[in-house]
Amino acid sequence: MTAQAGPSLAANPRLDRWLRIEPDGRVVVRSGKVELGQGVLTALAQIVAEELDVAPARVQMLPATTDGSPDESYTAGSLSVQHSGSALRAVCAQVRALHLTAAAERLAVPAAHLTIADGDICAPDGRRTSYWELEVPLDRDVEAGDAKSSADYAVVGRSMPRLDVPDKVAGRPRFLHDLRPVGMLYGRVVRPPSRGAVLVSVDETAASRVPGVVAVVRDGSFLGVVAEREENALRALAALRAGCVWKEEDSLPDERDLTGFLVAAPSEETVLQDTDSDDPPPAARTVRARFSRPYLAHASLAPSCGLAVWEAEQLSVWSHSQGIYKLRTAISRSVGLAPEQVVVQHVEGAGCYGHNAADDAAFDAVLLARSVPGRPVQVVWTREDELSWGPFGPAMVVDIEVDTDAAGRVQRWRHDVFSNGHTSRPGPPTAPLLAATHVEAAETAMAAGDPPLHNGGGSGRNAVPLYEFPRQLVRAHRLTTMPLRTSAMRALGAHVNVFAIESVVDELAGLAGVDPVDYRLELLGDERARAVLQAAAERAGWGRDPGPDAGLGVGLARYKNRGAWCAVVAEVEAQASVRVRRLTIAVDVGLVVNPDGVVNQIEGGALQAVSWTTKEQVRFDARTVTSRTWEDYPILTFSEAPPVDVVVLDRPGEPALGAGEASMGPTAAAIGNALFAATGVRVQTLPLTAATVVAAMG
């Protein structure tokens, strides 16, 4: 297989930027991608071990740092295996070839006669050398070369256990929250009580009297405290909060008419696809439907954390950011340092599922640490701030209008999505870190943007249907005002777009009197889409009777229309509440690097989608977010989590595709369709709860 370069390698061509061969028998790898709990460093280690022909245990994956790692931008979009994996594959293929050449010279044997086993390079006559002895210089750029054929894979394609699991199970420190550098202080930040609130005055007396308080930091409406002990930082936080006078005003839309707000707010229109015609044939029937979801919280189990220390004019930051280089850009700009004066190193946090408050917490630590030069300051957000001040997955509305002929065939398909943009990741000046919008010299956040469709899209992700209907018009309306900060949350717009499209396709199947799976198969030309749909239907026993008050539903999508294919069959029971009884999933991610890793990501994504789709809703009043604890923002519990059966269709000859976000949209759609099968009610408003079912009946 020819090694594909890809964007990561184009930006970081030098071999030694990616790996070192150590004389002690280790291969030390620096990827620019970071571990978010998705197991990516294990998958990348497998690729390295495979391509170099060394035991996986020799591969040491270093955490990403701006001080030495390749800049691979964000770890996002289910692209790590595609981008970093393809880069490492090419790098390792060349490193292997360079060592073979050097060994051939040393042993005076043609390279083609040498074999490599666990880094040992052997000649046919038994003489040997190794990676660890040859000391081949790697200070050169990668060149195009041949990587291994997938038919020869021995490590890739196996369910290698995750590298980080033993530590986490033993309770050994691995998280940023667990770092305890010498002299570390504990910082906490008082967030404003509402959006746009301005700090008029603060009485610091009580906070300053808390034992061990080292500093109270105020800059405009940014207010924080630094203490020797964590419990005292929290006491001082409460005391400071009690001493604040804020000027507040209403700034948020009416939660009860969020849909109305989204379709009426000023927006920028992008045509994502237009194969419509001016003279469509007359419609025998027109189907119109409006789908919506509320704002969603990333709701990481760990409140975000940041750690920073200022030493002379050098700033060191530790963060669980998804983009350490971009974070460095944002921090250095805001504090007026050159980027070279700032080092950002990644340390694991809890799963983030997109752009959460990780970067904001890092900047909080920077601002507080500035008041105590030489001493590291760790900031941990409160649970309340994590659920109410982190960026949200945008609330969305999708309108679909379909004209059909008398036989129920689609003549014309129109899809309009209304949403705030899906990215305000730090880096550009238009997307300042949270505290930078609260300080005296405040930076102004622009409304979140959307990646262009050729980069996967944001609001419009998966808005273009997988089916090829005649005359399609697909448009995204990105809001240019942003009452609540929104940014990337797993799957971006695909969650609602797929929910909407697949709900309407089910409606059309019903109108045509055709089974929903058969109806889709009739429309689908894409063989791999057909294959996952058939596999999921077969495995789920499609067509069986799930009993009273229950139904089966199906959902299908190809993530970003060019990533993994995923079909989900949901079995849903609707009595006093909406309960997902079982999910059956078939997925095609091309070449499978780590089968259990893929299953883990697909089932994890599906269960998170069950939670979003049946439970979650950010609540707010005219001024502030009111869902601030797990009681106000409940997520899926163990008793509610359905069994998930995942079938992975292995395609060893095809490029590897990401698995982290493929199951979200199809899961939401399958649940909606199963709920319809169970109740005869088409619920178009998320979350799908007893209340929304009743409302849809009305």
Binding site: P161, G171, E230, E348, A350, V380
Partner: protein
């Protein structure tokens, strides 16, 4: 400030702090036992769970004075003689986590469950874990791991 005597994972410690300090901070910041995690501070997520006299408690809202003289067990103390607890082995076997931030709380909660109810069934495991939140969607793997760690019935 006062001194509190604690028995944690079989070792006695004297800690000097305000007696109202949450046990979690004493474990993490004074004793260097970083396995238990801060998740919410309100006893709603289970990430901070430890065992006190064998029962799971939320160490985030348990004042340290209240556990003086009682036996505290954290995830670090689940195994014995350098050998991991069967649950820890089962979690590795099942790869029963993604990010792993909730793992320590899950493990101690389930260790108490298996002690109390060695033949617990699946529904019982799920009920016992309803106070422990997982955001990654590892629920079913965790349940399988717990079921797999049960002592075989005689």
């Amino acid at each position: 400030m006062s001194s509190t005597r604690l028995l944690v994972n079989g070792t006695t410690h004297e800690v000097v702090c305000d007696p109202d300090t949450p046990l979690l901070y004493v474990l993490r910041n004074d004793l260097g036992l970083l396995g238990a995690k801060f998740g919410c501070g309100l006893g709603l997520c289970g990430a901070c769970n430890v065992l006190v006299d064998g029962h799971p408690v939320h160490s985030c809202d348990t004042p340290v004075w209240s556990v003086a003289g009682r036996e505290v067990t954290t995830v670090e103390g689940l195994g014995s003689d350098g050998r991991p607890h069967p649950l820890q082995e089962a979690f590795v076997e099942q790869q029963a986590l993604q990010c792993g931030y909730c793992t320590a709380g899950m493990l101690v909660t389930c260790a108490a469950l298996l002690e109390r109810e060695p033949q617990v069934d699946e529904a019982g495991v799920r009920r016992a874990l309803d106070g422990n939140l997982c955001r990654c969607g590892s629920h079913n793997r965790i349940v399988r791991a717990v079921l797999g760690a049960r002592t075989p019935a005689r």
